[in-house]
Amino acid sequence: MTQQSPAEGSRSLPPLSDLERGRRVYRHRQARRSVAISLLSTVVFAVVIALVLVGSPGWQVTRDTFFNPEYFWPALPKVAEGLLLNMQVLAIAVVGVAVVAVVLAGLRSLKGPVFFPLRFLAAAYTDLFRGMPFLIVLYLIGFGIPALGFSDKPISVVLLGTVALILTYSSYVAEVLRAGIEAVHPSQRLAARSLGLSHYGALRLVVLPQAVRKVTPALMNDFVSMQKDVGLISVLGAVDAIRAAQVIVSNTYNYTPYVVAGLLFVLFSWPFIRLTDWLTARQQRREQIGGLV
């Protein structure tokens, strides 16, 4: 407890009782005990996994093929260079997804029979691209568009891959946003419209900001998922991290470069995963009113 001058005597708290001191000591001890237990169980778990792996009959071969330092370090710069391309594609695709998804979600939340065709189109779009495996969208866009022959010059596979990514992910994100829009209490819309705001104004200034806050964890989840799906553009031939690894693998017949690429993807997405957790925790803290429960 902080010391308080006698002048503010009536505002000060009574000194801490021995009972409360005892309770705090007890809680502190309990907290330390549970940390110790969880540490111990983690170590035991890790040791068991390690023993099972190392004790397996094929461990020598597996280690030399997948975790070979001889191939690990030489592969790293090439694969890392490829990851730069993944990052660029991701940066552009995220902006595209945000724009398309907001428009789609807005269209789907339009009310009234006049807007039926727009609602229908938006619904058909999201149904189609959420249902179709991303790999197939990639093939259709990546090989189908050039086959149409609109352009004499070859279209960049990176561009096509980005478009495919936007098509698929905007349909996911649009549905998440729509769920958020519908989760905002109708009274908020009433209040906004009562101020004289238009449907669009109410959506943009009142509903969407609240909707996005509600679905931030889901949006971040889609973002992290997108981050690794960027690696699939390698099937079109774009030299990204996975493709770079593949090139080395096909020369050496050692799979360590794939592990390198996998690790780099994990490292790349890790800050965003942590950010998601942090945002979720912060939101929980803000909305929690019930103290201990």
């Binding site: 505002r11 009574p14 009972l19 409360e20 007890y26 103290g291 201990l292």
Partner: protein
Amino acid sequence: MNAPRRSSPPLRSPEQRRGDPATTAPRRSSPPQLSFGQPVLQLRGIVKSFGANHVLRGIDLEVARHEVVALIGASGSGKSTLLKTANLLERIDDGQILLAGDDISDPRVDVDGVRARIGVVFQHYNLFPHLSVLDNVTLGLRKVRRLARADAERRGMTLLERIGLAAQARAYPDRLSGGQQQRVAIARAIAPDPELLLLDEITSALDPQLVGEVLDLVAELKGAGSTILMATHEIGFARRVADRIVFLHGGRICEQGPPGQVLDAPQHPQTQEFLRRVLR
């Protein structure tokens, strides 16, 4: 009080408690090891701060069996926080809480077991919207008291008849008026026959014409012998049902006594000031 101030009496284990058929026992029965006249709730030197905001600065309060105590005071005087600490929804920073003699502020206590012994009614009802009225009332009986569904529903229907809502047993809470919802919330709270009932501003969210039906029900609970600690803004109601009025100010008990004394002849200037403002 004869117990030494810092004593912590032995706790009843959850098994013992589950063993006693609280829902079938007559209402006024008390656990065998308790002497008659032991307070249901004893708060000793309760301190609670939120950061630099000292909400409770040392509260000593006892609620006797079958007693109805009303906490009054301005917003922010600590009424709600005091109720939450009694139900272990907020951890106290100092002091001791005894429920029927058991030190429930002890960190070793079975928190869920303690909460099962206390009924709470909230300002905003907090009914479960995905459950029917009857399921709301019987949830605790079935899942905490482990009663068979048929037994729980029999008791639930008895309670709903008592609050005049038996016809709505299968309806969902959002089909009910605020007053009806709050009565269901009261039925849910008293269903497991708790030793203590905490009412936190239960009429504050109601339309004025709906307040009466809820207050009548509380008066009936008092008649049936419930032990109640409530926070309220309804001075008239506090006068009608409370055995004792406790006026909180600045996180301390400023004045307490029978309604006639505190409300009609307040001694403390803060009480006088508060009553002048709310009764104007």
